[in-house]
Symmetry: C2
Subunit: 190 residues, 2 copies
Amino acid sequence: MPTSPAQPAGSRERMLEATIALLRAGGLSAAGINDIVRASDAPKGSVYHHFPGGKLQIAGEALEAYAERVRGFIGQALASRQAAPDKVRALFEAFAGRVAEGGFQRSCAVGTVSLDLDGDTAPLRTVLADALAGWQAEIAGHFDLGSAARTRAYAGLLLTAIEGAYVRSRAEASPQPFREAGAWLATLVD
Amino acid sequence: MPTSPAQPAGSRERMLEATIALLRAGGLSAAGINDIVRASDAPKGSVYHHFPGGKLQIAGEALEAYAERVRGFIGQALASRQAAPDKVRALFEAFAGRVAEGGFQRSCAVGTVSLDLDGDTAPLRTVLADALAGWQAEIAGHFDLGSAARTRAYAGLLLTAIEGAYVRSRAEASPQPFREAGAWLATLVD
């Protein structure tokens, strides 16, 4: 969407960034239009200018941008090692570092929003399912467990463990759930 | 806390039940005092009568009651089988049934609240961490992987997978993430 002369360049991007950060902190309830305006230092009208669909539109686009970014993060972590068990440990170690950096105050935006879904926000379900499917495919591309179905199932297990470790890390204020999961799940491909 | 004559018997329990259901559906933001009043059909004043600490008190007590109930649910599922791999599959199958029953609209209240934590609700972190620790101990009590540390770590992995499968099941509207995780994690104790 073109930016009108009245809007500062990059304000659309700033709003999306602010939305991603708010979603990671507290899900949809933390990412109201007023919260986004405050966090991105943008005039309120500019949110509706850039996102005429309002909260669902901006949340959906933020989740898509976030999904792409996390896919890159996953790919980079997995590509950093050769042997399959090392890849698994590196993946979980990368996420452990990510939660610790955020002081255990930020989780996966797909996780936070998934657990917030209700009748009003159900249209976001497809975006969330697509994000998860994309991550699963990214993980699967780095392993070969003999058959595509088995490799895909294993990738699904890793993804499940990542989402669960985000929950536990947040409550326990510790990266340990990621490391624990990585160590165990590496043994499945050793 | 004693119920005053002005309060209908059981209204405290109804409010706690309503809070648990709201937390499972959408976390803290879905469990405001007004939501609780509406869902429990209780007079607004009675919430503050029973829970003078307001939202944090009622959420904390609801989470404690929920944690105890889930601990029983976990124990029952694990006790239903003899062999360790069968126990693991039965546990995940029990949760798969639980999410399907709820039409994939209810998650783990500890998961939803963990991903909502912020400065205002940080006092709930201890309740959440205690709930997770209690579940981990319950799971660990049903396995023996050679050492207490190893058994405890494996129980932690199962717990991580349960929380993650709740996230994925909700977004994917499918019990499959529970079954997938159960099948894989059973192989670790086979």
